[in-house]
């Protein structure tokens, strides 16, 4: 038999899954995750209480670097590498460089945000043990799923099962992968 990955419970409303997550956290469970069809307000703060500061910081850093890079290629082109005298205007004509600097800054920022989002969420990851659960497919549609993973310190399959029953889970399933 395959190893036990965790136990999942299926709830039918956003409020129920939020209550369940809060209760599990209160009882000391740490290695659990909720899978929902849309972002449930406040659920992420219950499961991951530390605020996500990395992504905005990354995007800001990318904006600064992107602007510097955008300005530099124009400065290097017009002032250092291929100086062209157009009506006596300065080689480093910064007002003319502003537009492209702005665009390249935004491009780098968005690219950093997009790839940073994937990296921080550890995507692409085409396989995950939780996909083995039959009930999981509905988490992308109309059901709210919580999975307590077997790696949790306090994990005990029968206790977890009872816990979910008390919380009013619609369906409970062991995930083996």
């Amino acid at each position: 038999m395959k190893a036990l990955f965790g136990v999942i419970a299926v709830f039918d409303t956003a409020e129920a899954v939020k209550n369940a997550a809060a209760r599990l956290r209160q009882q000391g469970y740490r290695t659990f995750e909720a899978y929902t069809p849309y972002p449930v307000e406040g659920l992420d703060r219950i499961i991951h209480p530390r605020p996500q500061r990395l992504l905005p910081g990354l995007m800001f850093a990318a904006a600064v670097l992107g602007a510097a890079w955008g300005y530099w290629i124009q400065y290097w082109d017009e002032a250092l590498n291929y100086p062209l005298n157009v009506g006596g205007r300065p080689y480093n004509s910064w007002p003319a460089f502003a537009v492209s600097t702005f665009e390249l800054m935004l491009l780098v920022t968005i690219a950093a945000g997009f790839f940073g989002m994937l990296a921080v969420s550890r995507l692409p990851r085409l396989y995950h043990p939780v996909f083995e659960a039959r009930a999981f497919a509905r988490a992308s549609r109309d059901r709210f799923v919580i999975c307590i993973e077997a790696s949790d310190r306090r994990f005990d399959a029968s206790v977890v099962r009872r816990e979910f029953e008390q919380l009013g889970a619609e369906q409970i399933e062991e995930v083996r992968a």
Partner: protein
Amino acid sequence: MTMTLPREFLPDAPVVAPDVTLTSLSEEVSGRVLMDRAPLWWWIGFAIAFALFTVLIIQMGWLFIGGIGLWGVNIPVAWGLAIAEYVWWIALASGGTIVSALFFLTRSPWRSATNRIAESMLLSAAPCAGLMPIMHLGRPGLFYWLFPYSNVMGVWPQVRSPLWWDFICLLCYILMSIMYYYAGILPDLATVRDLAKSRFKQIFYGILALGWRGSSEEWRNQRIVYAIMSAIMAPMVVSVHSVVGLDFAGGLTPGWHDTQFPPYFFFGAVISGTAVIMMLTIMVRWGCGLHDVLTGYHLNALAKVMLVGSVMLGYAYVWEAFGPIYGSDVAERTEFFQRIFGFTAPLFWSEKILTVVIPQLLWLPLVRRNQLLLFLISGGIIVGMWQERVMFVTASLEHNSIPSRWGVFFPTLWDWAALAGTIGLFLTLFFLFLRFAPIVSIAEVREVVEAERSK
């Protein structure tokens, strides 16, 4: 005395029909993607679109062999339909970003169901815009010289030129739009993956969804990044279309040399882009049978955006007339009077009627609820904006500062083939989006459904 508008939508009118549930929504929208055989109307539409697209291929092939003399461009009118249509297409695309990004920031509930249509539209229109200047280059095979890259010739692009800014803007705009679209569609691809029955589709959408599971951490990261992206895309799109305006404002040609053109062009983008979204929304609504998700609420909201665009455009037109009349530049004034009473007068006046006068009907709630009228008004706006861009580009060159160099522009058959062909490219791409990707943002409409339910 208080004014009553009995036919106006109540402020808490439902955004989606009350019988839509999370289950029905996912199955309905994904069903359009997962159906084994596309419906007949899709094949008919796609066939027409593809036929027009082949016109573009033929036109481009012949143009690249024969050169741009095939078109009606010559001296003095060296910028003809290709440049006008470049501006027109990029305006339509920009409208998609405005609806999608700006109204995400305002948290407008109607944006949730229309943003994917808007973004699919923009990703279909942007390549059409990009092709136009490349076809116009004369040496299209050398367009990559615009990239600042290290080459053996030691030649670099002139980055002080608005034309180069334009290239950078369009390039960045397309790349950013693809990332913005993908960041938004990721959860929907996971829904399609989980609903797919055949092994091939499960693998296909499984790879596209990158293994999205909808965990609370993924949602949090996606929402943070998506919000910042929206806050970036909104000013981005203003800058893109303003730079198109700067291409003209930077020239000394009478009628172009005016500081108002960046916002003037942007106003045109708001109205024409929204008009395309309106037409596509009405067509998707009927074609896909999504009446319960794309409701009158959405059409009403889009119509109001169009009305605002029309009023802003009217304001810009007043200043366009004020400048030459108040100023002392003879060439500017002559050009302006030639434009409104000369060869381009029919284009000028019919355009004003289509984009500023007729859209005033949208003040009436009755009109905003009538889909046929909305469709016709939107179509008129799109045609009107095309006329405006064409007149704007050609009339100024026709009546430049030296009367001995005046001339007229008249498009040839190949000019029209380029227009028809890019419309074909646009429709082909849009029909592919319609067939292979969820055309409504399922994840975001779920939130609207839940909000309606808890009211």
